[in-house]
Symmetry: C2
Subunit: 229 residues, 2 copies
């Protein structure tokens, strides 16, 4: 298992900090473990710091009164979690739950704000992370509001192909239940769409491996321009 300082050194937002600054982070860092399914924080909870994932996967989600959930993000090693209230408001804007056994490193708010104030590289890295997340949210809002579920699934598969630099097949990095929640639908609907897209010759599904049989057809369904493929 990595020591905390090894984790800190591997986190992209901390790149640009020197050895002393990483040591300063080490002194305020708190090592926390969560078992699979454990809640890390709840929507509206008072926040006095943020987390970085060291091991495992965390889902960030909103929940309706009747228990339907909408996943906003799924974060893995090296990614910050719960950083919004560090800079505005005092509470977490969503729920966070461990979807595998997890190890998170917690950093208290005050110390991070002080470090951001001293280190422009950290400020720019945090600005880049928040901007990237805003960009992802604009896509998610577009998907939920302006696209039907088959278009959303096709767009997600094309996104995975870009992420994984893959041409022939992509690996789903989350369960189909989580994928349904991420795309704003239910597992039964998602299964029907997987079956329909297979029947149409767009994909072939083997467990979590999805073979892309017709990339142009998928891009077309996703509503992407050719340059975006």
């Amino acid at each position: 298992m990595d020591t905390i300082i090894t984790v800190i050194r591997s986190v992209p937002i901390f790149s640009g900090l020197d050895g002393d600054e990483m040591e300063a982070l080490l002194r305020i860092a708190v090592d926390r473990r969560y078992s699979r399914g454990e809640l890390i924080f709840s929507d509206g909870d008072h926040a006095d710091g943020f987390y970085v994932v060291a091991e495992g996967k965390v889902k960030i989600f909103k929940m309706s009164f009747d228990g339907k959930e909408q996943i906003l993000h799924i974060f893995g090693p090296g990614e910050p979690v719960g950083e919004v209230p560090v800079f505005s408001g005092k509470s977490f804007p969503a729920n966070a739950q461990a979807i595998t056994a997890c190890r998170l490193i917690f950093f208290p708010r005050k110390a991070i704000v002080a470090l951001v104030t001293e280190k422009p590289s950290l400020a720019l890295n945090m600005l880049a992370v928040l901007s990237m997340r805003l960009r992802q949210f604009t896509v998610q809002i577009e998907n939920l509001s302006l696209k039907e579920v088959p278009e959303r699934l096709a767009a997600y598969l094309m996104y995975l192909a870009r992420e994984q630099d893959a041409v022939e097949s992509v690996q789903l990095d989350i369960s189909k239940g989580h994928l349904a929640s991420l795309l704003g639908t239910i597992p039964e609907t998602l299964s029907r769409i997987f079956a329909k897209m297979s029947g149409d010759g767009l994909i072939e599904v083997n467990g979590r491996e999805i073979r892309l049989m017709d990339r142009e057809g998928l891009a077309d369904l996703a509503g992407l321009d050719v340059e975006e493929i």
Copy 2:
């Protein structure tokens, strides 16, 4: 009409800059006018800077292939527009259009990044703005995915009541067409819901003034806790 330096001094994200820094901003600022309905930038356009609204109102929106639009934000004087690509990516993630005659001040990317690097107060202000927008997006995604349109409208009215510090009535600050797009619906559906809520004694509609006849009932419909009212 205000001079550019007066506008710069009144912009919240620039608070904390000293006189020399405001003068430096003045030297790179570009004063731009847009007529009502004019497009300011398009989704995917290359971005080499961001804007601050000096006068008027700007809507930020996504558009589907068949012309349906989803509004993400409506910004007014003092608010930054199009700042995401300053810190990540190189293109605007959505469209921006003047919904009234507008005056915007444009700031080139390079100069702003240099200033953020030197001035922690600007970095923290930008971080606060981006965090706040992430928070708003989590609410919008929750609304689109987990709430029906009447709940979204009730939540929006309660939001306006908080913003306007109002108890008895709120003023819609945008047209009903824009409100429909913001809530992810069409004007006809929104009109029906306004009529239904009036019939149920929750509100009374007089043009853009909405009288809140039953705040508890509205909060209930919006799915808010009593403390959030």
